[in-house]
């Protein structure tokens, strides 16, 4: 007889292993909570208003360093008539990062990515009420500079003329109150390769194209920059670096074990190795490369890696439930084809998310200012893909719940006849049931912890305003905890569901023992001695 390690492991050994894994889990959580800072931080940068004395000159405007421009108070111009061309001369300048404590800060490549969001302070004037939705045209230019470059050596990174819609409402219609305007996503950089960045923004007015005519009394323009924290990246990458060899090691061990068997690997074993491969892809610490190379595709790559991992995990659960169905079906069960209906739900979901991601982050590789959400068609398209993914997720969970429900039904049916079986067969069935229940328990626990952690995180996010001196950095702890958890989960799966060879010496014994049964079940097709136990028992199950 051969099964997997989990059913042959003694209770003591199993509990030691589980305890070790739990310890690793706690460690992951604490590393995130105590060592790592928050995953990302946001900075409000107030735009400096510079004046372009020429006509739309290509030069860069910057606020610090030699040759910097001076701030112009827009309100000084408020009451002067016929300053029409002024609007086309004002350049909003954001030179980031902003210095602190008299130190000129520079971005580190550890900070990985940068998101820019604009916010407008538009003052209310009864004579100049803004519509609740205004289309604004933004002429944005992003440049960069590195340490050691002269102050004016800004090099272009990207530029675009973008339209965005600005939703502004005001509850208290009083002069000089600000509208409550929606935030305007501006750009997303997948790599933070350079030291300093400079954003020049114009809001050109063109009466023929009705460009920016409806914009109200703009007092300030704010840029909110969000970047990943270097400390978090370091902790995250170290975590990956630690997990990577472990998972690769256990995969090699697992595959060796499978190949030591005389039979070809079973479907579940393929699935496990696929899952391990997806996780290895996720674990590969590619972030080290960003320290040396400009890799703007990291955001997209990260999304794709996550997508592959999720699809592998979801497919694995489906196949696992299917393989433990314990119903009569011939050898077909060993093929992925059987599950095409179920797997297509995963496929469609992941594919639609992939297409959506390509449309958003893929195009952002060409133009960092691009966003699919700004046009109505784009929004509808994006929503279509997301809804499609949502539907597939729903269908998937229906399938999965149905399969699990069936497995449980079969289990309870088997339970009732178990006492009447011969001891060997009873052991086998108990093994199948045990394996299934063990994984169910572990999976449910992991999923529940992820969900609970996520909800707690959302609640804590709301409390962020009042509670700043929290000792545990919850968001980071959640991320490292969940990441560690799925790594440990898959490590445990590869470890515990590998074919056990401890029992090989017993095998002959078991064969001799089951002679009596073979007589009983003479109609059974003679099976190769080493089929995946589950498949063989499934067949036997059908006969009961």
């Amino acid at each position: 007889m051969q099964g997997t390690i989990v059913e042959n492991l003694s209770g003591r050994k199993l509990s030691v292993l589980v305890a070790l894994l739990l310890l690793a889990q706690v460690a992951c959580f604490l590393i995130g909570g105590l060592i790592a800072p928050t995953p990302s931080s946001a900075y409000n940068v107030l735009g400096t208003n510079c004046v372009d004395t020429g006509n739309n000159t290509p030069r860069w405007f910057y606020t610090r360093g030699h040759g910097a421009c001076r701030n112009l108070e827009l309100s000084d111009y408020k009451d002067q008539d016929s300053k029409l061309e002024m609007a086309n001369k004002v350049v909003f300048v954001f030179q980031i990062p902003v210095p602190r404590e008299n130190v000129v800060l520079d971005y580190s490549r550890w900070q990985q990515n940068l998101i820019g969001v604009l916010q407008f302070d538009v003052a209310y004037h009864a004579e100049n009420e803004m519509d609740s939705r205004t289309i604004i045209t933004i002429d944005a230019k992003l440049g960069y500079r590195n340490k050691g470059d002269p102050d004016d050596a800004w090099k272009p990174y990207a530029s675009a003329l973008e339209e965005r819609s600005l939703d502004c409402v005001i509850d208290n219609r009083k002069t000089d109150y600000y509208y409550n305007c929606s935030i305007v996503p501006l750009f997303e950089l997948g790599s933070l390769h350079h030291d300093f960045y400079l954003l020049n923004i114009r809001l050109p007015v063109d009466h023929f194209k009705h460009m920016n005519e409806k914009l109200g009394q703009l007092e300030n323009m704010w840029l909110i920059t969000i970047n990943q924290n270097g400390g978090f990246t370091k902790v995250w990458v170290s975590l990956k670096t630690v997990f990577f060899p472990f998972i690769v090691g256990i995969m090699i061990w697992f595959w060796k074990r499978v190949h030591q068997l005389a039979r070809p690997p079973a479907l579940l074993e393929y699935m496990l190795i696929f899952l391990g491969g997806a996780l290895t892809l996720l674990n590969a610490p590619l972030e080290y490369l960003t320290l040396y190379f400009d890799m703007p595709f990291m955001l997209l790559l990260g999304d794709i890696k996550q997508g592959i991992f999720y699809s592998a995990l979801l497919s694995f659960w489906l196949v696992f439930a299917g393989e433990h169905m314990m119903v009569q079906e011939d050898n077909r069960h060993n093929h992925l084809r059987v599950y095409w209906k179920h797997l297509s739900a995963v496929g469609v979901g992941c594919l639609s998310l992939f297409i959506f991601d390509m449309c958003e982050r893929g195009i952002q590789l060409r133009n960092p200012f691009y966003s699919i959400w700004v046009t109505d068609i784009g929004t509808n398209l994006a929503l279509t893909f997301i809804i499609l993914a949502g539907i597939s997720a729903g269908v998937y969970f229906l399938f999965l719940s149905y399969m699990i429900w069936k497995v449980f039904q079969n289990i309870s049916a088997k339970r009732s006849v178990l006492p009447g079986m011969s001891s060997v067969r009873r052991l086998h069935y108990e093994g199948v049931i045990y394996r299934f229940k063990f994984l169910m328990l572990a999976t449910l626990l992991c999923a529940a912890m992820t969900v609970v952690g996520f909800i707690l995180g959302q609640v804590a996010e709301g409390r962020w305003k009042w509670d700043e001196s929290l000792e545990i950095e919850y968001t980071s702890a959640f991320f490292t905890g969940v990441y560690g958890m799925w790594n440990i989960y898959i490590f445990a799966l590869l470890c515990l569901y590998a074919p056990s060879h401890k029992k090989w010496p017993v095998e002959s014994e078991s064969h001799s023992n089951s002679v009596s049964e073979e007589i009983e079940f003479s109609r059974l097709p003679t099976e190769p001695s080493e089929i995946s136990s589950l498949a063989s028992f499934a067949r036997k199950a059908a006969l009961d």
């Binding site: 800072p37 990302s40 400096t48 404590e101 935030i183 996010e461």
Partner: protein
């Protein structure tokens, strides 16, 4: 309580002590006023550009006096000299404030801007009231007697200027105008400077703005009264506590009006990862809320030997119709909250001109004949009646804006009655 002793008299002997603590130059007593010079004066006159400032200071011809040691210091350290050039001859600062200025010379401009914002907002909020927050440009105490009085108006001025400084400093930090804003003033572990920034980021600029306002604006109240007279010392302490409370209340209002915004940027832009930030309110919102607090200002008393302030048990002004121990009875038991404005004395009579106290009176003020609020002629003119003139009013109307700087308006002429108080 014998607090009606004019405070200026009490404080005058302290002036040399206050001013001479660390830096003498430029901090002579104000020339023409009995009231104390005040930092808010910066809001009226602004900060002269440092280069122009440096020249007269070196020449010893600034408006202050006692610049004796300056040239020696100039030789010591050019950076310090520059700071001294900016801070040395600023009017109205006490020693501790000059120290803050020396540490952060570039912060003085946002401070002046904050004071200006506060004063303008005060004038806007009180434009229809008997006291219209008028300032006196020639006086370094800006508000003169009103600031010394300890009334509701004093409370408002303190709160609004303190809020103004917090607001302006925060903005200056965000704009990069102020380069020495703290990276992480809130946290206990000092992971500041660039490496710290790269590790875990910096805190909100607002924290710095509030702390800076606390350091700078509160500084005059934190100087100990060294006068020998215990009664005077106590009066000074009570007033200092009132001012501190109101300063804090102003800052409290700023932080209570912050708006929070969030952005999701997890996998594929999902809300798995969400980053939030806070944005400053328009200063007029701060002014409005403070005005509301002004109307509900609490008169306090400081019983002997108690460190905590209390509501005064008899409050004839605001409590006149509420103190009937009826439904509102428990309102008195409510303890003083951090955001309340507090005052010690009743407001003076703003109706009559009293030059010795710097009260302009309301005669000559425009009023509203038909209205019923504070602007109505009945209230504003204090029953003295009003004059009516027929004036042709020319104003811009039906304006059309294009953002930034373009306005087209029609000119509208209206003939209207203008009422002014007698």
């Amino acid at each position: 309580m014998g607090l009606h002793v004019p405070l200026p008299v009490l404080l005058l002997p302290l002036l040399p002590l206050l001013l001479g603590t660390s830096l003498g130059p430029g901090l002579g007593p104000p020339p023409a006023s009995a009231a104390n010079a005040n930092w808010m004066y910066l809001g009226l006159v602004g900060v002269p550009p440092p280069l122009q400032q440096a020249a007269p200071a070196l020449a010893g011809s600034g408006d202050g006096d006692g610049e004796g040691g300056l040239e020696v210091l100039v030789l010591e350290d050019p950076e310090l000299a520059e700071a001294r050039a900016v801070c040395g001859s600023l009017p109205g600062l006490v020693g501790a404030q000059t120290n803050v200025c020396m540490e952060h010379p570039s912060a003085i401009r946002p401070i002046a801007e904050g004071a200006r914002r506060g004063i303008l907002e005060c004038q806007f909020q009180f434009r229809h009231e008997r006291w219209n927050c008028s300032t006196n440009e020639r006086e370094q105490s800006v508000f003169g007697y009103i600031l010394e009085r300890g009334s509701k108006e004093t409370a408002f001025i303190y709160a609004v200027t303190s809020a103004g400084v917090a607001h302006a400093v925060t903005q200056a930090c965000s704009g990069g105008e102020l380069t020495d804003c703290g990276c992480d003033p809130g946290r206990a572990d000092q992971r500041t400077t660039p490496q710290g920034w790269k590790w875990g980021g910096c805190s909100d600029n607002l924290e710095y703005g509030l702390q800076f306002s606390r350091r700078f604006v509160d500084a005059p109240e934190r100087t100990k009264a060294n006068s020998g007279d215990p009664k005077a010392r106590k009066a000074y302490a009570v007033r200092a506590r009132m001012n501190l409370h109101n300063n804090e209340a102003g800052r409290q209002v700023v932080s209570s009006l912050l708006r929070m915004h969030c952005r999701c940027h997890g996998v594929s832009g999902s809300c798995e990862l969400k980053t939030c930030w806070r944005t400053l309110p328009a200063f007029s919102e701060v002014g409005d809320l403070l005005k509301r607090k002004y109307r509900q200002a609490v008169q306090i008393t400081n019983p002997r030997g108690r460190r905590r302030m209390r509501r005064k048990s008899k409050n004839p002004r605001s409590g006149g119709n509420q103190s009937n121990r009826g439904g509102r009875g428990n309102k008195w038991k409510r303890s003083l909250s951090k955001g309340d404005l507090v005052h010690i004395h009743k407001s003076p009579d703003y109706c009559v001109t009293d030059p010795s106290r710097g009260i302009a009176g309301t005669s000559g003020r425009a009023c509203n004949k038909t209205g019923s609020g504070a602007q109505s002629c009945d209230l504003l003119c204090c029953g003295r009646g009003y004059n009516t003139q027929v004036v042709k009013h020319v104003e811009r109307c039906h304006c059309k804006f294009v953002w930034c700087c373009y306005v087209t308006c029609k000119t509208c002429e209206t003939v209207m009655d203008r009422h002014t108080c007698k």
